[in-house]
């Protein structure tokens, strides 16, 4: 009999880890935020004349709420394809640092890169936030199926929201739709705060909150991209300086 060390006690099969991730998604308050957000997006998509299948395919393929809003609004109002692609691309640039700071947490020295394709595709704000919070308690070998389970769990929540949104479209009172739109900022602010551990995390949050609106007000092109690079580097720099002076 092997000794009951924490690693082999907690070792689960791939399927069990996937289910644990799926369950974690539905136990997270963010699943309900995702449902609410997608009710709003689906109502918008419906009003712009897109079919339900198209809306659901857009969630599976694009999997980034702000990009999906930009996509339907631009296409429905006759935006040029190139300009629309550019606007979607700019809004999704945040996915780059998110994938860069998620994959190193789940890969192992011998991980085949093909198994990281799905976790990279599932990376979106909701999955990224919950993965960063929950992964430290999950053993290395279980992390890839766990993140896939999280991704499928949140995607199912989004599709449930899409169905509800199509059903409710046209009858959504403005007060309710304002409340649904407010879900994103208030839940992201709280869940990002909950994840802050390093000094650089806290600084990046505080600097980003100030810099984001300033860059937008000054009408700097690609304002969020600059907020990330300037704010994130500043936060990291101050963190390093403090460590060096200790």
């Amino acid at each position: 009999m092997s000794p009951a060390t924490p690693t082999n006690l907690w070792h689960r099969s791939g399927a069990a880890s996937f289910l644990a991730g799926f369950r974690a998604a539905w136990l997270s308050a963010l699943a309900y935020v995702v449902i609410g957000t997608y009710i709003g997006i689906a109502a918008l998509t419906h009003d712009f004349g897109f079919g339900l299948w198209w809306a659901m395919a857009s969630t599976v393929l694009v999997w980034a709420a702000p990009a999906q809003v930009i996509l339907v609004s631009a296409l429905a109002t006759g935006g040029a394809p190139l300009a629309t692609a550019l606007a979607v691309g700019v809004s999704s640039a945040r996915l780059l640092p998110m994938v860069m700071s998620l994959l190193p947490l789940i890969k192992r020295p011998k991980t085949s890169y093909a198994t990281l394709i799905l976790p990279a595709h599932f990376t979106a704000v909701s999955v990224w936030i919950e993965a960063l919070r929950l992964l430290p308690a999950i053993s290395r070998q279980e992390r890839i199926p766990f993140v896939n389970g999280l991704g499928i769990g949140f995607m199912c929540a989004a599709q449930a929201g899409t169905l509800i949104g199509y059903y409710l479209a046209g009858s959504l009172p403005p007060l309710l739709s304002a409340g649904l739109l407010f879900l994103t900022p208030v839940s992201f602010l709280i869940s990002t705060t909950r994840n802050c551990r390093l000094t650089s995390d806290w600084l990046a949050l505080a600097i980003g909150i100030v810099l984001g609106p300033l860059m937008a007000a000054w009408q700097v092109g690609l304002d969020l991209l600059w907020t990330g690079v300037v704010g994130g580097s500043l936060a990291y720099g101050i963190h390093r300086l403090r460590e060096a002076l200790k």
Binding site: S101, P104, G208, L224, G228
Partner: protein
């Protein structure tokens, strides 16, 4: 817009411009070890972008949220955040409190 056209546009101007960033992150992540300095920097950049997105939505909101006055939006955010801190760091309690203030405030304002 024909049905086929709508799906082609979805892939070309929706999927590809978003997925491109994930692919770039995937390629970059091959060389990054967790706990490395580059990893901490990438994490800071991701948090700063997200913080910028949050602040922008609250200050320059989309759609019907824009009809709720700025003071109510800021107040609802503050109450949600403070409730989270007081209520043993519960995300659900914070979001519920923030939403309650936003909706009651909007009702009082006459939306």
């Amino acid at each position: 817009m024909s049905e086929l056209n709508a799906y082609a546009l979805l892939v070309l101007v929706g999927f590809l411009p978003s997925e491109m960033w994930r692919v770039l992150g995937f390629v970059a992540a091959r060389r990054i070890a967790d706990e490395s300095e580059f990893f901490i920097w990438a994490r800071s950049v991701a948090i700063a972008v997200l913080a910028g997105v949050i602040a922008k939505i609250i200050l320059f909101p989309p759609g019907t949220l824009a009809s709720v006055p700025l003071s109510i939006r800021l107040c609802a955010t503050a109450v949600g955040f403070l409730t989270f801190l007081v209520a043993r760091r519960s995300l659900l309690a914070g979001v519920a409190a923030g939403e309650a203030v936003l909706i009651l405030g909007a009702l009082a304002y006459g939306i």
